[in-house]
Symmetry: C2
Subunit: 214 residues, 2 copies
DNA sequence: ATTGAGTTCAAACAATTGTTTGAATTAGGA
DNA sequence: TCCTAATTCAAACAATTGTTTGAACTCAAT
């Protein structure tokens, strides 16, 4: 046996998560990752069979962490009132605006994917039947008329997440010149309130929208 | 003089708009553009001083076309009721889902930029003081309490456009497997209704959200 | 016909990407 | 101790990117 292989793997995964969250998968180069991880160039291919393999591994980690987490766990959300669950979910999606921990990085990775899904990601959610959207669908559903079609609920969920992910992806940008938003706790609370209130006020009427039935 | 230089320029611009709309600026290679335009490799650098220069030219065209257009023209929208103006604006943003004409391509280009603004785009909107967001701000404002801060209105506008651009960018994707949405006129009408109704129902309460004052 | 500026062209350049190679290490089992 | 398999490493590879080069070509004006 050679040196601690697990150490190298962990270093790579940690660096990859950090970079994928910051710039997305496509814009993160293998060389950037190995430099940040302080490992050799060829390590990624040796341990993960390529950049795609590494991403798949990272996606599995992120998905596992996110589904077991309180923010999107179906059971936890069901125990709250619809309004509380929605508020909770939205705030969870906005978490990367405030904290830069591991969980936030995972959420941010998914925010990049929601902008333009990579091939790896599409293959990943194709196999994981319980998509990362299902939590959002469950949250949204409770505001919709009971007989609302699955497809309509999914569309509403996509809208909801779309509003959050714009801010998560472009956090740095919105702090700058044409916008000059100060992104602190007060701002995120306000933003979460805005999205939540708009959804609460509007979703009950969404059923009338006449989205095509399933 | 040599051959019709204007012809070459037009060919390049046309091909570039098509590709930028389809995949975004970064993912469109110079070689793809010149191949589609049926011109020589070096033509882009000769006529536009590089890929960035071409994009800047295209952005100017798109911006001019979009601001003179009924869908986002401030005066046209003011002549409608707030609800009508909102519905009109949202439907306009969703136009690339139905039609693939020039106007739709411009809208789609901006949808890519709203996901992850390129350097060229950021420099462009920095000089064009009337950002392409201002129309959305004006539309949204009429639903907000009169004393609402500019910043809060902008945030609401970003949310509104975020909901539209997700679908515009990933049109093809949503037609496929995990989603299987049939994107026809009925769907787009329904989607526009959904977004509109949610906004109408919720925006009036957005003022309570306590977004940081300007 | 000749000039000369404007334009096209095939080819190469320089930089970056993900991946592969094959030798050099490392550590555990015989 | 020697052997073997796992791991690391520097280097190169092949493909793609945007850009530059310098000669060839076109056409209006002289």
């Amino acid at each position: 046996m050679g040196r601690p292989a697990e150490y190298t793997r962990n270093q790579i995964v940690k660096a990859a998560v950090s970079l994928f969250a910051e710039k997305g998968f496509e814009r993160s180069s293998v060389r950037d990752i190995v430099t940040k991880a302080r490992v050799n160039q060829a390590a990624i291919n040796y341990h993960f069979k390529g950049k795609d393999g590494l991403y798949l591994e990272v996606l599995k980690l992120a998905f596992a962490r996110l589904t077991e987490d309180a923010g999107v766990d179906a059971d936890d959300l069901k125990s709250l009132s619809p309004e509380q669950a929605l508020r909770h979910f939205v705030h969870h999606q906005l978490r990367p605006l405030l904290y830069q921990d591991e969980l936030s990085r995972y959420i941010r990775m998914f925010a990049w994917e929601s902008a333009h899904p990579s091939k790896v990601f599409r293959k990943f959610i194709a196999t994981n039947s319980t998509s990362y959207l299902s939590a959002a669908v469950a949250v949204v559903r409770r505001f919709l008329p009971p007989q609302t079609a699955d497809r309509a609920a999914m569309v509403a969920a996509i809208c909801l997440m779309g509003q959050c992910s714009v801010f998560v992806r472009n956090r740095d940008l919105f702090g700058q010149d044409p916008f000059r938003l100060t992104i602190d706790e007060a701002f995120v609370d306000g933003l979460a309130d805005l999205i939540t209130r708009v959804a609460i006020g509007g979703l009950p009427h969404a059923g009338d929208a006449g989205l095509p039935a399933a």
